[in-house]
Structures are given as structure tokens and as C-alpha cells.
């Protein structure tokens, strides 16, 4: 049994203009000790999934489907059980996490807070000691627990957020764009750190980002999202090297390999914008921007078709043989 099983997840935010579908039927599996990457741009729903896993979405949001964490359905849990699950079973490193630190408290206290919330039997002193241990685990000296957030650099703050996420020994860590705001070198340091921690602690991780090239080094499997659905999934190397969906191809060519002659003075990109969740195109939601678009695309919604060893992609071109046979 996988550690995390998401089945047919649908999430719709309620706004004054009506319900906005952010996630439109997503299946996702995370095995124990596995790192799964979720790639996509703004509006594709990946951060929504992160929030849905811990039921952190606004109250009025409609969430349907199943989210099984170690066999328990998060969506039907009681409030008390949910609070216990949050942080102890699964924790999250938020996007823009560096701004999620309280500027008037020392960082050590903030880490300790997570511990104290979950185990009232622990004394404050013990919690602070544990915070110091966690800070060392993220390769910062323990005395940094005495610092205030403004005394730390961006990379250091991100490490503190990681330490906070590990405070209650979770099994699953969801990292939502953990390195997006960081410099290249600091990003490399943080990614190395995450890799080491994942390996040493046997964590399962969901790594959310728009940068496909970051995922390929860290993740075992990648799922690419577009307009609320998964459009491609497979092992990290396969998805990165031989993308089967036109969108994945476009996404990976936005960050080309340096030295690759194909991209020298030939930047490739898509026109238009990722679709507004309120106004998703008919049929295949990617068809207005797709270079390989053909006749059935605007009217037929693709599902995830088989595309090889453990790979699936939601492109009608993959369905070619069956379609031809069906229409013939």
C-alpha cells in the first residue's frame, strides 16, 4: 500500500463569481521513501493539491475524491485526528516560506512551537533542545536558533523552514516551490540538503515546482500538471529526456541544456498564457497553445494514455492507433 494515494481529486474554490475548478480529477501515488515531483505553472493546481492533502484550503472550498494517507482518508477525518496528522504524519514547506517566519520571534522558538503544539507533555526546554538538533540537521550551527528571521539570509531561512517541517518526524514532506526564490548556488545547496535528508530519514516527498530541470535530479517520478489535470507522468529521467506530451516538451525547452546547439539563439516558447481556471478551453485544455494540434483536439478530452514503461500522457496523438481504428 502506498503511503499516499490520491484518487480522483476534484477541488473547486468558491468565489463571488462562482466555483473555480482548480483540480479536475487527479490521481497520484507516493510510495514510502519515494520522491514524486509535481511540475506545472501558475494556475495548474499543484499548490492546491498540496493544500488539499492537509486540508488547509479555505472552508468553502469543495473537495471531492479520496486522499488516503497511510490508509486513512484525510477528507473524512475528524478534526482531532486531522490535527494530529498535520505535521506528525505529513508536513508542508510552503511557497514563499521565507516570509512565513514570525519576524518578532527567534527562529528556535518557532520551531519549538511546532513541537509543543503536538506534544503537550514536552517541556519548553526540551523542545528548544530538539529545535537545536533539527537546525544542525539542516547544516546550520545550533546557535542559530537564537537568531531572529531578519538576521538570516534567504538560504538560511529556507533551511529553518525545512527544519520546522521535520520537527515532528513526519513520513511525508510536501515541498511547495522550496527553491524558487533562491540563487542558483543556494538552490543547489538546499537541494543537496533535501536529498541528504530524504535519504537519511527515509522520507517520502512531494516536490512541487515549475522548473523541470530541478526535479530531474531530485525526484524518482514526475507528474506534469496543466489546467487542473495531470498531463504526463513517468520516471523522472524518462519524462525529462523524452517527453511525450507537447506541454512537457515546451516546459523542458524553457530551461534548455547549456551547450545544446539546438537552443543557441533559438529560444522556444508557447504563445498565450496558462489558462484561467474560470475559462478552461474545451476538449484538450492545451489545444490553443499546442504545436501538434490536430482535428479532434478541440472537442475531445484526452485521458492518460499508455506511453511506454510506466509512463502515461494525456495526448490524443498517443491514442492515434485506437482512434483511427475506432473511426474507421
Amino acid at each position: 500500500m502506498s503511503l499516499l494515494e490520491i484518487r480522483d481529486l476534484h477541488v473547486a474554490y468558491s468565489t463571488s463569481a462562482g466555483p473555480v475548478p482548480a483540480v479536475r480529477g487527479v490521481d497520484l501515488d507516493v510510495e514510502r521513501g519515494q520522491v514524486v515531483g509535481l511540475a506545472g505553472e501558475s494556475g495548474c493546481g499543484k499548490s492546491t493539491i498540496a493544500g488539499a492533502i492537509l486540508r488547509l484550503l479555505p472552508k468553502e472550498t469543495k473537495v471531492e475524491g479520496q486522499i488516503l494517507l497511510d490508509g486513512e482518508d484525510i477528507l473524512t477525518m475528524t478534526w482531532g485526528r486531522l490535527r494530529a496528522v498535520r505535521w506528525e504524519e505529513s508536513s508542508i514547506i510552503f511557497q514563499g516560506a521565507m516570509h512565513g517566519l514570525d519576524p518578532v520571534k527567534r527562529v528556535g522558538e518557532q520551531i519549538a512551537e511546532a513541537i509543543l503544539i503536538h506534544d503537550p507533555k514536552v517541556t519548553e526546554k526540551e523542545a528548544l533542545t530538539r529545535a537545536g538538533e533539527l537546525v544542525e540537521q539542516v547544516k546550520l550551527p545550533a546557535r542559530r536558533t537564537q537568531d531572529y528571521p531578519h538576521e538570516l539570509s534567504g538560504g538560511q531561512k529556507q533551511r529553518i523552514m525545512i527544519a520546522m517541517a521535520l520537527a515532528c518526524d513526519p513520513k511525508l514532506v510536501i515541498a511547495d516551490e522550496p527553491t524558487s526564490a533562491l540563487d542558483v548556488m543556494v538552490q543547489a545547496q538546499v537541494l543537496d540538503l533535501l536529498e541528504d535528508l530524504q535519504r537519511d530519514l527515509g522520507l517520502s516527498m512531494i516536490f512541487i515546482t515549475h522548473d523541470l530541470s530541478v526535479l530531474v535530479g531530485v525526484c524518482d517520478r514526475i507528474s506534469v500538471m496543466y489546467a487542473g489535470k495531470i498531463v504526463e507522468e513517468g520516471s523522472a529521467d524518462a519524462v525529462f529526456e523524452t517527453p511525450k506530451h507537447p506541454y512537457t516538451r515546451a516546459l523542458s525547452s524553457a530551461f534548455p541544456e547549456i551547450g545544446d546547439e539546438r537552443y543557441r539563439l533559438l529560444p522556444t516558447g508557447l504563445g498565450g498564457d496558462p489558462p484561467d481556471p474560470m475559462d478552461i478551453p474545451s476538449g484538450c485544455s492545451f489545444h490553443p497553445r499546442c504545436v501538434d494540434v490536430f482535428a479532434p483536439c478541440p472537442s475531445t478530452e484526452p485521458v492518460l494514455y499508455d506511453a511506454g514503461e510506466g509512463r502515461r500522457a494525456a495526448c490524443l496523438l498517443l491514442d492515434g492507433a485506437e482512434r483511427a481504428a475506432g473511426e474507421g
Binding site: 463571488s16 505553472e41 501558475s42 494556475g43 516551490e177 524558487s180
Partner: protein, 357 residues
Amino acid sequence: MPTEPFDQEPVFPEPAMADQGHALDVKHRSPRQITWARRRRALTRFWKQFRENRLGTAGLFVLSLFVLVAICAPLIAPRSATTEVTATAKDQPILAPPGHHCPQSYIQNVQDPNTGEYHTIEKPCLASEEQFYPLGTDGAGRSLFALLVWGARISLLVGLVATIMAMLIGSGIGIAAGFYGGWVDVALSRLTDWFLVIPWIALAIVLASVLGQSLFNIIMVVAVTSWAVTARLVRAQALTVATRPYVERARALGASNWHIITRHVLPNLFPIIFANTILTVALSILAESTLSFLGLGDPMSVSWGTILEQAQGAGATTGGQWWWVMTPGVAITAVVLAFTMCGFAVEEITNPRLRRR
């Protein structure tokens, strides 16, 4: 990347995406005309939102009533009613309660000079016969209704003019301080602080006694004591706008400071200034009433504050002539409340942060 709501400053409501190009004939109009058409539509949208705000509409209704009354004063009550004094013998009371037809008697509390006790006595009313006083009369026999109507003119006028002056001074100083920064900011901010901190009544009394009692001077005094709050507010907003990337872009294009202030800073400040103006009018009217009540107003003109002053002087507050005090009091409260409600409504519309989701 998170898509932040990129505009945190007050805006007039803009059309939704569905509104694009709707009903505007591009071919026959110049871009300038089109822009003005868009601005007019933004204004209509603002008005629509304002109408949906119940508090604001109620406030506006009350306000319009008062403004109408003030403008149409000559048609509602004769000017003479405010000056004509029904002369009588010295000890003859001539007060009439509301809705009173004279001659009739009324009850008054009187203090016995020997024992110091209060007891009621019945007194005849000697106000003008066969007159109907819907709100009663004051101690000189003048119809309070007429006084109220004519007093509205002064109170509203002083409130409005003083506020406009305060707005101009405050905005000018605020923009200069926020935009230019440096020594200009330091000097102007300290000036603003001084005016903020000083007890305004003390300042008002001093100014009034120095300048003398006249309508114009009252306006000056109120303006001088209220510009500081606006300046503070405007400075804060100007500071945020001055550091916005589009201001830097204008600089990169080669724009002068004047261009930036008039084309970028002011338009973005306008909603805040507008909302603040409405709220300041309320305070100005209150301020004028207070000053008149203290006897610093123009003795020749009638305002709600002077009515209160005379009522207080004649002992109406303890003498039981409640209508003499209540009439101007309720009027002041109503107008101030109406302005405040309007002001809150405008603030809520123009500042998205204040809106309830």
C-alpha cells in the same frame, strides 16, 4: 510563481475581462476619447457599487436632504424669522415648545433663590400669536425651525470650505514629503507632527482670539487644525506609490518630477484623498459647532453651534427647554453621522483590502 494581486492600492473598480471592447466603437473615436469613455464607465461602476452599500446610501440620502434644505433656505423659512426678536418685558418668558400654538402655558423648572430647591411652575407663553412652531422657539422667540434651516447653510459651508482648504494643504504637504523624501520629508513631517500633537481646541482658541471672530476666520481655524491628519495619510500613500516600479519606469523614460506627480502619484492618491475628505467634512462641522459653542464663532451669523451656545447661556439645558438644545444637537449628529457613513462606504469601495469577501 504565485500570482499576487498586483495592485494593493485603492482603485476605482475596473471592468471584468468579459467587458473587453464592449460597445466602444474603436474606429470612430480617438484614443483619448476612448480613455475618457472608460473613465466614465469606471465612475458609473463606482456609483453602482456605492448604491449597493446600504450604509452609504442612507448617509447620502440624509446628506442630500440637509444640503437641499440649506440651499433652499429662503424658500423654506423667511430670513426675518431668524433675526426678528419678539420683544417683551424682561422677565416674560417667551419660549414655546415644539408644535406649540401660542398663546399657551408651559412648565418650567425654576430654582428658588432662597432655598436652592428646584420646583416646577406654570408659565404663560407670550410668543407670537397664531404661529405654529414645529420645533419650538428659542429664548428670543425665534422659530427654531427657521434657525435650523439657516444655520445649516453656515455649518455646511464652513465644514466644506474648511475641509477643502485642509485637503489642499494636507495633500500638498503629504505628497511633497512622501515623494521627495530627504530633508524635505524631515522638515514637513516634523511640521505635521507639531500640528497633530497640539491640542486643537487650545490652538483654535488662540487663533480665534488673535484673528478675531468672523466666519472666514472660523474657516481658517478649522482648516489649520485639521490638515495634519490628511498630510500624514497622504504622505504614507505617496511613499508607497513613489517606490512603485511604474514610477521608476517613468523616470527611466525621462519624466520630470512634476510629470510623475501629476500623472502617476496623484491619480493613485485620489481615492484615498476622496474618502478622507468626506470623513474630514464631518469632523470640520463638528469642529465648527464646538468653536461656536465656545463663543468663538461669528456673532452675526447663525449656525448650529451658536444656537447651542445661546441655549447654554440661557440655561436651557437645566431649565427644561430640551427642544432648544436637542434641535441643533440632533442636526449636528445626523449630518456628521451621514458624512461618516458615506465616507466609510467610499473607503470600502476604493480600498479592496477593507472589503468583506
